[in-house]
């Protein structure tokens, strides 16, 4: 199929020149069945239009850079195969719900602040010295939090969340999942330090359980579950005199 073509429509926006984003259409060779949307963008940048801007790196679904809206759905473009869209045109837009910097590049500073606000590190009342060796932890104990530790910060869940779209003060899916990851870790004792952020009005209680975050997650993390579990946990702590767990 040497002559097969695919049409890519990509968002173009340069804040120095454009008032608002527009779509630009490119027709490029669809030369290999293994091609993904990111390959198409790379072809455009190398051979057609060097000014198209987007982020990418590992192209194996783990660095989390290349999230974009593909035909209206948040996707990692390294993992969105052209053959699944062809012969229809593929519309590639920046992730929803974020300020736009340029073309397909969004501003995710907000998430970086939220990530820090949930204290995503092990908090202990007393550190054990390095010479004391590792904390003992069974694989079952790891399974408690494993899926929440698989978040790659790709921002697809924020792009899918209408609550975040309506109110970007909302802590959001990934940050809550990561808070849960530490709260469920048998080595951690920092729940009470994280509660003021996650149980705040802009924390889990803002979520109305649309559930779309978990649907779009490319890594099988279930942030909606993390949020609902956190709601139950914080309620139990409020209702029960001594809290449910440290």
């Amino acid at each position: 199929m040497p002559d097969k073509k695919v049409t890519i429509q990509a968002t173009r926006f340069d804040p120095d020149r454009d008032e608002k984003p527009r779509l630009q259409s490119y027709e490029i060779p669809f030369s290999d069945e293994s091609m993904v949307v990111l390959d198409a963008l790379n072809y455009i940048k190398s051979h057609v239009d060097g000014s198209l801007s987007y982020r990418w790196s590992c192209r194996m679904g783990i660095c989390g850079s290349c999230g974009m809206m593909v035909n209206g759905t948040p996707k990692l473009t390294c993992n969105a195969f052209l053959r699944d869209y062809w012969p229809r045109p593929v519309v590639v837009e920046p992730l929803n719900n974020f300020p736009l910097i340029r073309d397909l590049v969004i501003d995710m500073d907000d998430f970086m602040h939220k990530l820090k606000s949930i204290k995503p590190w092990i908090i202990r009342k007393q550190e054990i010295p390095l010479g004391g060796g590792e904390h003992r932890q069974t694989n079952d104990q790891i399974d408690e939090f494993r899926q929440f530790s698989e978040c790659i910060n790709c921002m697809l869940c924020y792009a899918a969340c209408p609550v975040y779209g309506l109110n970007n003060e909302f802590l959001g899916p990934a940050a809550t999942a990561l808070a849960r990851r530490y709260n469920l870790d048998s080595r951690d004792q920092g729940l009470t330090q994280r509660l003021p952020v996650i149980a705040d009005t802009e924390g889990v209680w803002e979520c109305s359980f649309v559930g779309e975050c978990s649907v779009v997650c490319p890594k099988g993390v279930d942030p909606a579950k993390a949020i609902q579990q956190t709601k139950l946990d914080t309620t139990m702590r409020f209702v029960l005199p001594f809290g449910t767990r440290e």
Binding site: N97, F209, V215, Q228, K231, L232
Partner: protein, 118 residues
């Protein structure tokens, strides 16, 4: 966000429908309060509202209530996080127990109503 955001995908739409089911439910419950108030005047002066339109409305609300309860109870498997002798309790078991509790509670209420209503 544009006002029509919930029409953009099927799943957003179903979510809005799920949330919307609470509204007619609330209306029906308000009506029930009015009926209870009226029934308080004594059996002699009370005649229940029985128009066909109201029956149809009630049936629809019943379906909504069932749908809402079903989705709510199914979510228990996602939300509740229990351990029993160092093993996580499977989500299906939690969901099943929720439905069982629901059935038992409905039975008890039905029993009370019928027994004392005789």
């Amino acid at each position: 966000m544009p006002a029509n955001w919930w029409t953009r995908s099927r799943r957003y739409f179903l979510y809005v429908v799920r949330e919307f089911t609470a509204l007619p439910l609330a209306l029906w419950l308000l009506w029930l309060l009015v009926e209870i108030k009226r029934a308080g005047d004594g059996p002699a002066r009370y005649s229940p509202h029985g128009s066909a339109a109201f029956v149809v409305f009630s049936v629809i609300v019943l379906l909504f209530a069932l749908y809402h309860s079903f989705t709510f109870l199914t979510l228990a498997g996602t939300i509740i996080h229990l351990r029993f002798i160092d093993r996580p309790v499977p989500a299906s078991l939690i969901v099943l127990s929720q439905f069982a509790l629901w059935a038992v509670a409905s039975g008890v209420i039905a029993f009370v109503l019928i027994w004392f209503g005789r």
